[in-house]
Symmetry: C2
Subunit: 352 residues, 2 copies
């Protein structure tokens, strides 16, 4: 008696029991849909008694409003797509990078805080993957070539947020990191620590970010009268990057400082330097662009240039939510400063 199980429906198939609807609750409580809806949503002017009765009945019956129906009414789904562009062929390998992992998790967290959920979208997105989903907006992390997707999104009137390459396009917002300032800060730091031959390891990729880093390095060297020493890593990944580090260190031009821009494992980079007979930070100052937490556990601890994925995520979501809720964002883009986290590997002061 007072058995919570409905008993109706085919008893043979327990999973097929029909969901409890608003109308069921209304009937059970002897009220109308409107009243129950208002009671549950805290809207309207209802007597406390009725409100409580409706709520009680709903709870007792295990009522759960159908989110899709609400979305249809509301006109938006509170869903944001998150798509990482580079490496369309090997989708999602990028989460292996601490930067993308943190960017992803921070974006999800920031979105959730504002009441939006993040859906993971594959890199390639064969033009229409996302079309099945009621996305209020889409974040395209590091678009490469596939501007196609951004065009499609804009054509579908879905706000997009990505990097600065879309600057000026209506409906497209951007967040980027200030590479130029970052490079200068790093090189100034080397200089202040007494280094005079800073070398740079860069990915051989035409990304705007890397191009900016290279240009900033060139400018800085020219201004300070230092020789340029750049080595390119043919691909991303620890293997090629470590090889590039070795190439930079192994030649006859012994640099006295090294900045590794493509994300590589801190301990592997230090090991490579050691193999080539360098004492860090004695003979060589090292800075890696990385979010890898192992940097604090190497000996010496490694100075890193953080691309602040969490701040980038927050800024992006802020922009998007403003655009979504106020109709348009205060500005179309945000430039976020990086953070040089100085540790022992780039501090010569410890040397006597």
């Amino acid at each position: 008696m007072t058995n919570p199980s409905p008993g109706r429906g085919s008893p043979a198939s327990p999973t097929a029991r029909p969901r409890v609807l608003l109308v069921d609750v209304a009937r059970e409580a002897g009220l109308s849909k409107t009243t129950v809806s208002a009671a549950l949503n805290g809207t309207g002017r209802l007597s406390p008694a009725v409100r409580e009765r409706a709520r009680e009945t709903a709870r007792r019956m295990g009522y759960r409003p159908n989110p899709t129906a609400r979305q249809l009414r509301a006109g938006r789904a509170r869903l944001i797509g998150f798509m990482v562009g580079e490496l369309a062929g090997a989708p999602w390998t990028l989460l292996d990078s601490p930067y993308y992992a943190q960017l992803t998790s921070a974006t999800a967290a920031a979105a959730l805080k504002r009441g939006y959920a993040l859906v993971l979208l594959p890199a390639g997105s064969l033009h229409g993957e996302w079309a099945e989903l009621p996305l209020d907006a889409v974040i395209v992390a590091d678009p490469v070539g596939d501007d196609r997707i951004i065009d499609d999104l804009i054509a579908a009137r879905i706000p997009v947020i990505t990097d600065r390459s879309v600057e000026g396009r209506p409906g497209a917002y951007w967040v980027d990191v200030d590479v130029v300032a970052a490079m200068r800060e790093t090189l100034d730091h080397f200089e202040a620590q007494g280094a005079r031959r800073p070398a740079l390891v860069l990915p051989d990729s035409p990304t705007q970010f890397y191009a900016g880093a290279l240009a900033a390095y060139g400018d800085w060297c020219a201004e300070h009268g230092r020789p340029e020493h750049v080595v390119f890593a043919p691909e991303a990944g620890n293997g090629p990057v470590v090889a590039a580090v070795e190439e930079a260190l192994g030649g006859t031009r012994r640099p006295d400082a090294l900045c590794v821009v493509p994300e590589a494992s801190p301990p592997l980079v230090l090991e490579a330097a050691r193999r080539h007979g360098y004492d860090v930070p004695g003979d060589l100052l090292v800075v890696c662009v990385s979010e890898d937490l192992t940097a604090t556990h190497t000996r010496p601890a490694l100075t890193t240039l953080s691309l602040v994925p969490r701040e980038v995520a927050e800024a992006g979501i802020d922009l998007l939510v403003a655009a979504l809720e106020q109709g348009s964002a205060p500005s179309a883009g945000v430039l976020v400063p990086t953070r040089l986290e100085v540790r022992a590997s780039s501090l010569r002061t410890g040397r006597r």
Copy 2:
């Protein structure tokens, strides 16, 4: 003329232009909603001419079907929630772990392949975070304590997939990794390579997985008459784990093999061994449970025990899709075998 921009609506606000609806297309093409819908979906029996006309008009007008409305009709949203349980306080830090990063990305990829998208959910999920979303199912990666969430999900008739701790509950499916076999394989491998005093580093956490590993180690040692040597790491993270490794290696009981179960950075573990005067693999065989790709780049390369996140993801999605689409899965759970990736760090044969 033949200007594609509608011109209707307030010209001052370009973003406010109303979306084009199915009914707009129908009117424009001189057809009915039904016909256009059928034409676009490839259903119904329409004359090729009409079908093409409808399609052309839709394309020209930039029509995009409203996904929410379709979902409401279809009854499902093709959306799967992905929630990682442990560390409710520090949401998403877990993506810093290669295992979770790969599990996440592989799950998203597997789901997409079956036509479902993955939504990232925060760990805590204050009982109702997910209720706003039309989730067809939810994946709870490593539930801890918060069985509460699983109960809620089941009560809401949303299929759940998680680890073996839910075995036997209706509506709950599980995928787990065969820890016992994994430990035995590792220890057998050590034994085959001539090691006689294998030590174990374990997290000090009551997870089923770790408990299983500990039990399997105990059993194996008893069977083979080897002394047990277990050191617990108080927390996850490279710092505590490396400290535990040092404790295991630094004492008077010099082990000749070491299995590090909590995920730690391969190069950091090797460095720790080196600091304590061990030659790997000369005096010490090392295996780490890890998905970290740096394992292949250390010298020597590090043997890893992979918990096969990609296979786990595939198995989970398969189960879920079966449950969702056939009404019930062939079985309630799947046990996935791990993979020992043998590299130089655990091969004594190289020694002369």
